[in-house]
């Protein structure tokens, strides 16, 4: 196998390992399964075309995430200029309603036992800018500098946004815990 083909094979192998993470990130951005799948496909198509530009020893995962976010931003810009309505969640978008739905939904009562599901639901309810920074740092383990490169913003912005995102997340999970305790107390009294 030639050097070029070996690099190509290594790239394919490494790239497929990040599929779940990339799909999770695409879901974080789009909150829509079909759009997330399209976004991931487009990301890999572009990565394959641009693979030659990737410098040796570059962070492949970070590069894929950056492509994914850029593709999504381009689609968003295109959608903004077109007639289709696209939900844009602002940084200050509220997440009211999440706690109510968690507390009142019988299914959610069932899955409460699974903390992972609760955390996942809380992440989903965050505004998009918080959601993506939590996913990139806490789920995918990127450094502040790498996140800054993916998001195209200063590292200081990443730190402050991550701080606010975690505060919001902690607050949501605290509400859930308080709600669970209250439900348990009511059940005992009933």
């Amino acid at each position: 196998m030639s050097e070029a083909e070996k690099i190509s094979a290594d790239f394919r192998k490494a790239a497929i390992e990040h599929l779940d993470a990339l799909y999770g990130f695409a879901m974080t951005l789009t909150r829509n399964e079909t759009e997330a799948q399209d976004l991931v496909q487009e990301t890999y198509l572009r990565a394959v075309r641009a693979f030659g530009q990737l410098l040796p020893d570059s962070n492949l995962k970070g590069w894929l995430f950056a492509i994914c976010r850029n593709v999504w931003l381009n689609q968003l810009r295109h959608a903004r200029s077109g007639p289709r309505f696209v939900e844009l969640d602002a940084e200050e978008e509220g997440c009211a309603g999440w706690f109510d739905s968690v507390a009142s939904n019988p299914y959610t009562v069932f899955v409460r036992k699974l903390e992972r599901e609760e955390v996942r639901a809380a992440i989903e309810s965050l505004p998009r800018l918080y959601r993506e920074v939590v996913v990139l740092r806490d789920l995918e383990g990127f450094s502040y500098q790498q996140i800054a490169a993916i998001l195209g913003c200063p590292a200081g912005t990443v730190m402050s946004r991550l701080n606010r995102a975690r505060e919001r997340l902690r607050s949501l999970l605290d509400q859930w815990q308080a709600g669970a305790v209250e439900q348990s107390r009511q059940a005992r009294e009933a």
Binding site: M1, S2, R12, D20, G24, S143, Y144, L162, R166
Partner: protein, 304 residues
């Protein structure tokens, strides 16, 4: 940084592995002394770990995985032009260009080109006697020399860089309209390495692609170009029959060219080697049993 407020404002940086040097040393020194801050760090760590435990947020659906694998497995090697672009460029180079110009301007250009060709022909024939047309090298031999020279000038980058005949043969599979299997005498016989393959690429010839393989023998470049015998018939030069094959020897621009056809393929070897350049044949005939064959191709004293 030694009071608890400062420490707590940096807990996230510490847990995110973003504290370095003296900041990290002072942070950890404070934790050693302060139970309250240690508890705060533990609490924050549990929170971040619980978030991390929700990974993966969404596993990719099987259909998306299959599609992604298809995209990745169809990926060409970096910098290789896609087949459709190749076909388009080949069409432009060989077919479309002369016919794409329309109208009077095209006619005027064609007329001017015809005059230039006629004048150039007259000038050429006036300067150089016309040789025996039967001795002229074939178009394929000329293309092989041109390919050799373009490579030496750095104008023909390889599309595959490998010293393995098997890798090169695999790379050509499906890219050319004929089957090309390069022999691997050196590896199979374990004999002294007489030559190295440098790399290969496609070259255009008569609306199709020929295979170009570059070798080095003791620092001297050898070019092998292969196409189907339908696309090229060797002709001209000094014809020598050996082992039932007819080899056509030329000297073009100081380079030695050997062209021949065998089992559906036409070959041209270009080198700057001595005599007829027959030593370049070792790229395919390096086995001991082939020594006589290469010896047969040496000019004898009566033909020199």
């Amino acid at each position: 940084m030694n009071n608890c407020d400062d420490i707590r404002s940096r807990i996230a940086f510490y847990l995110d592995d973003e504290l370095r040097g003296s900041d990290l040393t002072r942070f950890e020194a404070h934790l050693d002394e302060c139970n309250s801050c240690r508890r705060a760090v533990s609490g924050e760590r549990r929170f971040i770990e619980s978030v991390r435990a929700s990974r993966p947020l969404y596993p990719a659906p099987p259909a998306l995985r299959a599609e992604t694998e298809r995209i990745l497995n169809g990926a060409p090697p970096p910098y290789a032009a896609p087949p459709e672009l190749r076909a388009r460029i080949a069409r432009s180079l060989w077919n479309d260009a002369p016919f794409s110009l329309k109208g009077r301007r095209a006619l005027a250009l064609a007329a001017a080109a015809a005059i230039i060709v006629v004048l150039a022909g007259l000038w050429y024939s006036a300067r150089r006697p016309v040789g025996d047309p039967l001795k002229r090298p074939s178009e394929f031999a000329m293309m092989a020399v041109n390919t050799h020279l373009r490579h030496l000038r750095g104008q023909l980058p390889f599309e595959i860089t490998s010293d393995s005949p098997d890798d090169i043969s695999r790379w050509f599979a499906g890219k050319v309209s004929f089957s090309l299997v390069l022999p691997n005498y050196q590896q199979s016989s374990g004999q002294e390495q007489l030559y190295q393959i440098e790399g290969a690429r496609l070259v255009a010839f008569k609306n199709d692609y020929a295979a170009y393989i570059a070798y080095q023998m003791r620092g001297r470049p050898i070019t092998l170009v292969v196409t189907s015998d339908r696309a090229a018939t060797p002709s001209g030069g000094e014809a020598i029959v050996s082992r039932g094959l007819t080899f056509h020897y030329h000297t073009i621009d100081g380079l030695k060219v050997i062209a021949w056809s065998d089992r559906g393929l036409t070959y041209a070897l270009v080198s700057d080697l001595e005599e007829r350049g027959q030593q370049s044949c070792v790229v395919c005939h390096a086995g001991t049993k082939d020594r006589d064959f290469i010896e047969d191709l040496k000019p004898r004293s009566d033909t020199q």
